[in-house]
Amino acid sequence: MPSMRLNKRGFWIAALVVPPLAFVALFVVYPILSAFAYAFFEWRGLQRGDFAGFDNFAKVLFTEPYATWTRNAFAHNIIVFFALMVLQNGLGFILAYCLWRELPGVRIHRVAVFLPVVLSTIIVGFLWKLFLHPLFGVVNISLRGIGLGFLAQPWLGQNSTALAALILANAWHMVGFPTLVFLAGMQRIPSEMLDAVRMETQSEWVKISQIVWPLVAPSATIVFTLLFVGAFNWFELPYVMAGIDGSPFGSTDVLGLYFYRTAFGSVSSSTQDFGAGSALAVLLFLFIALVASIMTVRLRKREIEL
């Protein structure tokens, strides 16, 4: 009875596949599609109102004061992305190159560099907030201790340093991730290839720029793209260290905080605007998807098959 067997088999496969599929459909696909739909409606609190066309988008992009807030937050995300590109991924590449030599103690160094990565952003944020306290923080105490008291500042309390302090805290937290991804990429380079270069030249620089860097391109593609997505979803660290308003004076405001304030209200205003919030989410989503795909395609082009 082949048809009987087929039915039984079909039933078994469905029993395996349908529950997980239904779960992802209901709690991933449906919410994301709704996010797009919601942006085109008027909202009164939690109640959906009339169809509003592109009004919500026009509001966050062109109507003051929303337009200025959007531009301000977006500019900060761009700064965060480029600064972390240098600090986090650049340093990660250098550290990976150092670890790759497998000098004595490499295991301890590898475990240490990844330790902050496993900590919650909330713990990291509070820790650095305490360290950067103007009076009792260990950073300013140390500066005073070594006679550089004039450099002691309210790091998180002034426009000029607040965003930089957040970026540094983020780099400390996450640098281990690109480091170990690059390291894994380097460990896959065939040793014959390295020996061949060593015969040709003594220069480390030639070795890095001609061999190592091109051959870890697949790791670079992933690390760059993940950093881009992460930088434009940045929320927890500024939330803990700078507060929901991106204090002081919006100098640390990023799209994540701005989106949260718009959708769910803030300390100073409890108004919820799901329409404008959804429009922001859709714009951010499209921007991330577009740039991340362009990045991936362009970076993939320079990858070399081993």
């Binding site: 599929l21 992802v24 709704s34 989503f285």
Partner: protein, 287 residues
């Protein structure tokens, strides 16, 4: 080139190598100090009074002075938050592994119409940041009546974790040989029995990787509890931390004690299982 010249160049090569390795070692040691010092200072400060922290921030404290830790342990809801985190993370992980293995096993071991479409469906979930769908999720949870209920967190975490898990497991299950399976089928074993007793024991290494990749982000998550949970007794550890950090905002010793206790579970597990953690957490980024 004479022998003397040769020796000179060799020595210079040796010196250059020593100098280079020395520089590398210095960079690595400096970096390790920068990575560990904040954590060591945090732990030290947990045993100090605010005054001691202010005057001698780097000094080794008296480790019997557990007053700060006791304050967090007894006067705040810390234990409740910790228990909540364990329950939410544990249930999420069980569901992710069960549902993920089911889908991955079906896609990897059976040929049927739509298998590649199903994989593509999960791939879509992999690339979409669920955070940006928080408004519809909030409304969905309200309609389901599970706002301010840990079920809402578990559901979101399972939804977040399923795509990566299906990917890791599908790739792995495809590499398993089919001889065992065919032999069992000849002997008349049911499909369920083949899956449960023959294939699943072989999948365990990949399940560990998938579990670690999901457990850290779930344990550390703050965003979804912030939106879904208001009741203090239901808060998870990262969210609870923001509550008691607010209460003691002038007592530095107690604040550091709170951070130390919150960080301790994952730091201890990481030190014991560092290889598995590093493999698991970077596995998504390494092809």
């Amino acid at each position: 080139m004479s022998a003397a010249d040769q020796a000179y160049y060799d020595r210079r090569g040796l010196l250059a190598t020593l100098g280079r390795d020395g520089l590398i070692q210095i960079i690595l040691i400096a970096n390790t100090v920068i990575m560990l010092a904040p954590i060591v200072i945090m732990v030290f400060s947990a045993f100090k009074t605010s005054n001691q922290i202010f005057q001698t921030p780097f000094a080794i404290p008296d480790f019997t002075a557990i007053g700060n830790l006791a304050k967090i342990w007894t006067e705040t809801n810390f234990l409740r938050y910790l228990a909540n985190s364990v329950v939410v993370t544990g249930l999420s992980m069980v569901l992710i592994l069960v549902l993920g293995t089911m889908a991955a096993y079906a896609v990897a071991r059976y040929e049927f119409f739509g298998a590649s479409f199903i994989l593509l469906f999960f791939l879509a979930g992999l690339t979409l940041p669920l955070k940006l769908a928080i408004i519809p999720l909030f409304i969905l949870m309200r309609d389901l009546g599970i706002l301010n209920n840990q079920l809402s967190l578990i559901i979101v975490y399972v939804a977040m974790g399923l795509p990566t898990t299906v990917f890791i497991l599908t790739g792995f299950i495809r590499t398993l040989p089919s001889e065992l399976e065919d032999a069992a089928r000849m002997d008349g074993a049911s499909e369920l029995r083949i899956m449960w007793s023959i294939m699943l024991p072989l999948v365990r290494p990949a399940m560990v990787i998938a579990a670690i990749q999901n457990v850290v982000p779930i344990w550390n998550d703050f965003f979804f509890p912030l939106i879904f949970i208001q009741n203090d007794d239901l808060k998870t550890l990262p969210q609870g931390l923001t509550t008691f950090m607010g209460e003691y905002n002038t007592n530095f010793g107690v604040l550091f004690a709170g951070l130390t206790l919150s960080a301790a579970p994952i730091i201890i597990i990481y030190i014991v299982l560092s290889r598995q953690f590093i493999n698991g957490m970077t596995s998504g980024a390494i092809k």
